[in-house]
Symmetry: C5
């Protein structure tokens, strides 16, 4: 999988604001769903033409337009034109090679987030870009569509009028989306954490050559996750500082709560990274230990049998005049000598604590 | 033990402020004790119903309510409702997967701390979350209940009217709790420090394969401790800055003192970490040194006996015409030659300082 | 290639502002092209004498003078004299051993950038220095001329009146040049990223001694790229802060966009660096693993055959009185004994999981 | 020696300000010496009762009270009561497990320093805590008493009226004490520096297994020194900023001078640390180099003699029909063949540059 | 060479401002040269008595007094007394164990710099301390005198009235000296850079045991250079901020230019350091690779010849009843068997890609 090399360079020297989709097309047709609500009313629709939602622009209710699939450049262009979204923002929405970031564009706030989930085989972690536009009374969310629509639980909260969400404005809705995405990181980290703690046990009890590849795999995943999460802290901090009038005071406390979560997630990622490099150290040391064991066995065997074989060789020589060969007790004597040599060698190793 | 993977993700997409207990249930029934005091009066009670303490709310005395065991969601909800605690705070109290943090909520300050102690086997360090709520004239403390009630010495100081505690307000009580928890870290670090200094001696005099696992064990513990203590510095610094009106000027100097302690503890943790990585370096080097020793022994033995065995092999050949075999002095001559070869080899090694 | 040792020291103790070309002469004659435009008009020329462009100085149109090849000291001196460029600026233009930097000189802004491309063999990354001078209504760009003129796509945008470029001032033109150069980094990083991900696979499936040299090559390239890109962040940040009156408010949002790109590029470079050191770790570990394998094979063979050869040696001795030699079943017995010894050894290794 | 594990935890849950001596009792009776001086007068005394010095409190002269040995809790309590020293300060004086720190207590400044010297064997560096209290017209200094009284040279300067010391106030006296302690670090670092430079030569010319222990020893010492010196920078910086009215402007320049010294000392410590890790790298590499040498010798010997021994073995077989054995030139032929095989092997190694 | 251990500790407990020369005496008599100039006039003299220059003190011309050799304490004391130089400054001039630093003393600015050059053998880099005192209309420069007088090119610029130097004040002269010293670093770094790039090639093509010592040598030199240059950045930054009235606005742009150079030099030093640690990594890996090669050769030889020798040994036994020995084809059969065993072993290694 090529995770670090999206074909972004093709846009070099183009005019800024030229809309080009960078990434993979994951769905055939972009799904557009609209929820329009206030404390008392609720309207929910799946749109077939993007123009249907333009009427909602001037209503005081909160309008949440969710797009799944961002390859349809014209659709996004039209939406942008109606709601006065800057071309640079539209360009960023279409470019899935963004880092988490926040842009305060006066009439709206533009937020880019990365959602993390395991791929279908459950082996690699993939990220899906979610772009949010928070306006005065609307929130647009743009998903790549890799994992399908993950906002259903939130929609149910709105439909069921659970919690404060229907009583609050568009900024609270944006918060709720961000909060859901951030809480989702815990799930990924829990799974990783379990695997890393298993690896830690394995390394102590039974290190294998394959263990090395696992360590490398986890290091790579942590690097990838960190890249996706690290800039998030600044993004949420900027939101929580409420420099824009679009964020109301009542939402601030919730944003600070998300900020705490992000800090904790980053901290967990860093802890995992340290655990992994500690595990690698231990693995390397245990390799050296094993090598020492192997070498000791070899040395003990060689050191015992080489002198013995030499002795046998001496009395296998064919000289005419070798008096010992004639002795009646020559053979038992030499066997005893060999036994002695062997025992001395063993004592020598015992002494050096190699046995 | 799964220290890094509490099931926190189950709360994803829930409404903020939904109260769910995350952690292990350690006691059957939550123990609630109340101490209510001022300079002259003292009332101490163990409550059976949480409602009994609501009357104390408007009295000018300092009220300290201590809860042991935080699995009882309803109890905490009732307490929160009476004292106007924000649902996000209650959520954090119930979630034992918090980092040390401080939230200034205008009418109260919310502090999360981690208490450290060894588990029952004395092998691993476990942390217990302590949440504090410091209000105008009350302090609530919430313990997980892993270690039982550790605040008894403090209660005795209050009962015995030792020191200034009865003369000061709720902020001093909160300080006293924090101070006790922080001082407790010294005990854990002292035990660790002794063990690490022992390990350091062991590594120099007699490194063992098991040593590696000890190093790894300490590295892991330091990582865990650090995670619990590191954020504390900012928490105490924020308290000592006295940005909230709830902290009186007279308490500031005591908070600065705790801050000094925290800085020193963090510094000790970092020193231990550096000692451990230095120990690991030494361990790895001593492994290489040992390997060198083993290899030298092998090489010396092989280099001496291989040529000798070869010589013996030559005169063990069965060629018909081998004049040396017929010589009368052939056998003593060849023995002398072997002795010579052996000595030359030994001299060669002596020369290379391998002996 | 000597990338870090341009002969800069020859200027020591010279007067500041002494114009000396430091670098390689890449073209014979400096090519000077001028584009002069506003929203309605466009004039494009290739100059033979630098004096021809002096008339444009006082026209309100945007004048872009591009020089390819910077060895012609007199030409640059003349241009500098006409447009009141400070001698220190001219000195910096001539010195190709600069780091990216920005100097706000009141009547103009001086920017030094590094363009990156692969050399002709496609093996090493080389940098080409581009200096920009942004004045009130003019932009000067100075290229070393290593790669030829890379600004043609931008000129076509101007000629074709695409995007906003003809409607905006000199600051937007400068932005467009910087943006093009920065976007070009993505191409270099994409190529590197692909190669590094290939290397990562190679390291896991089939590490080779040559792999080591590849890792070293990439580390070197990353070091070189980082040196060229790292200071750029501050340069663009300084531009985007618009402390100079030469940058208009309408350009700010575009500069912030470039800034985001630079941050992302730096982050990618850092990620690649971390991947490379992780790859090196894995490589080293796999070397140790292989060594272990080799040693095990040696040890197994030696441990099985040394005792056997010894046994054969014993019964090859020529003692007169060796009763076993006379036995009728002596030979089959000793063969069976040898088989037994071999099997015991194999079981020993099986037991230690070496087989 | 247990340098990191003073029994500090015994104070957990005690009232703040409870006076407990933490450390070793080094002298039997606390020595109290007083010098009281101004430009013209000088009084010097050794006190037997601490109360004798209380009369000096209100005199305008500078009073320097030096205590050697801090185990006498009551003595320090009395002194504190008379001069209105805060209990927390007294607590810190008695606790020898402090880090260098500064506390501005309005009516006095409290400074904790660490004095470094070699222990009696000259092997380990030990630290001695010196606490200073700088009041309006007095300085108190508290030494642990490990090294005896080191302030004698300073007293002689006062007696001899050398330099400016008699003309300046208490702040200059405090400076002079700090300056002396800091300058003393140079002596320790010089000795260490010489040893490290010797070690560096040793590592290049003749690395030994013992070298490893020396490296570890120095790393440990540097870690210990760094812990004692690092916080000092902030302490002196805080003094030099003259935020307290107790520091006069005329002393500022001297404090800045000490600050420069401290920065230089820290820098030297860091340089030593880097040298040590570089030395360790070199040591490890030279171990690998040696191992390579050993292995090469073994391999050369084995590769030459194994085929030769095999050849000899072949012609030692007892087959009835081995035509070569009957040849008249069989023996010289096989000897020539052996010589050839040996030479070919040697050439092979020559070719691989192993010889 | 003892570069880190100048006998500075002998000054401990001395009065501040006590003048003691710390360093080596490099010339017999201190050379004092004076240049006194303004735009039109120029006076140049070599002084025999320092008092001759005191008359110049009140003239409005720029006076540059250069001292070569700083062991003459009295001479420097007299100069200091005449020009009202603070004793602490004089102390610092005499102490060659300073780090680069700047002291703003109201009536003058004191700057300490380190000049770098190769020692006479061209092997080690040595530093020479240059102290500058910049007053209202004078500059004093103090050289240790190791390399002789290096300011001659600057004097020629003054004599020849080249550039702006005669038109500007004392601050520009100080700048010119600093600039010359800084530009000189490029020469040292160029030489080092060439050597390091050579080393890099060597490491890839033909690593030797001596390479290790070269790497260590360069690491040591970089550490030494870094120590000399690193603090310079702050020194120059402080100058360029023009907080003192002694620096005129017209000089600021030149100081910013020097600042850029220093930043670039530091960056180059850091790049070299990273290259060196990368080279060390590669070196260590190539050692492991070599060891692997050696071990493989040993293992292949041993694994082929041990079984063969065993076989030969079996048929060298002297049992009376060994039927194979009587067979007519026994000898060719056993030879064929040996060939087979050898080939199988070779195939086994081919299979494992060891050949």
């Amino acid at each position: 999988m090529k995770r670090y090399t999206k074909k972004r360079s093709k846009k070099a020297w183009m005019s800024p604001g030229t809309l080009v989709h960078i990434g993979e097309k994951t769905v055939d047709i972009t799904g557009v769903t609209v929820i329009d609500y206030n404390e008392t009313e609720l309207r929910e629709e799946t749109l077939h033409k993007i123009e249907e939602c333009f009427l909602l622009k001037d209503r005081p209710t909160v309008t949440w337009i969710n797009l799944e699939g961002i390859h349809d450049v014209q659709l996004i262009e039209k939406l942008g034109a109606c709601y006065e979204i800057h071309p640079l923002t539209l360009e960023d929405i279409l470019n899935t090679d963004q880092h988490p970031k926040i842009d305060d564009m006066e009439n709206y706030i533009f937020i880019v987030l990365k959602m993390l989930h395991y791929n279908n085989n459950g082996t690699d972690i993939v990220s899906e870009q979610v772009s949010l536009i928070l306006g005065n009374n609307f929130v647009f969310s743009f998903q790549e569509g890799i994992k399908g629509d993950v906002f259903e639980p939130l929609r149910q909260r709105i439909r069921g009028n659970k919690g404060k969400i229907r009583k609050m404005g568009a900024d609270y809705l944006a918060y709720a989306i961000v909060d859901g995405i951030v809480d989702n990181y815990f799930a990924v980290l829990e799974k990783l954490g379990e695997q890393i703690e298993l690896l830690e046990e394995e390394i102590v009890t039974n290190p294998q050559p394959e263990t090395l590849q696992k360590i490398h795999y986890f290091k790579r995943e942590m690097l990838y996750i960190r890249r996706c999460i690290w800039p998030l802290r600044e993004v949420i901090a900027a939101l929580a500082k409420r420099e824009s009038a679009l964020i109301k005071e009542s939402t601030e406390i919730y944003l600070r709560d998300v900020y705490d979560h992000v800090v904790q997630i980053i901290d967990t990622v860093e802890t995992f990274r340290e655990m992994l490099s500690s595990i690698l150290d231990i693995y390397l040391s245990s390799l050296s230990n094993r090598m020492n064991q192997v070498m000791k066995v070899l040395t003990i065997i060689a050191t015992i049998f080489m002198p013995l074989t030499f002795l046998a060789g001496v009395y296998g020589m064919n000289f005419k005049y070798m008096p010992e060969l004639e002795w009646q007790w020559g053979y038992p004597l030499i066997l005893t000598l060999m036994l002695l040599v062997g025992c001395i060698m063993l004592l020598f190793f015992k002494n050096r604590k190699w046995l």
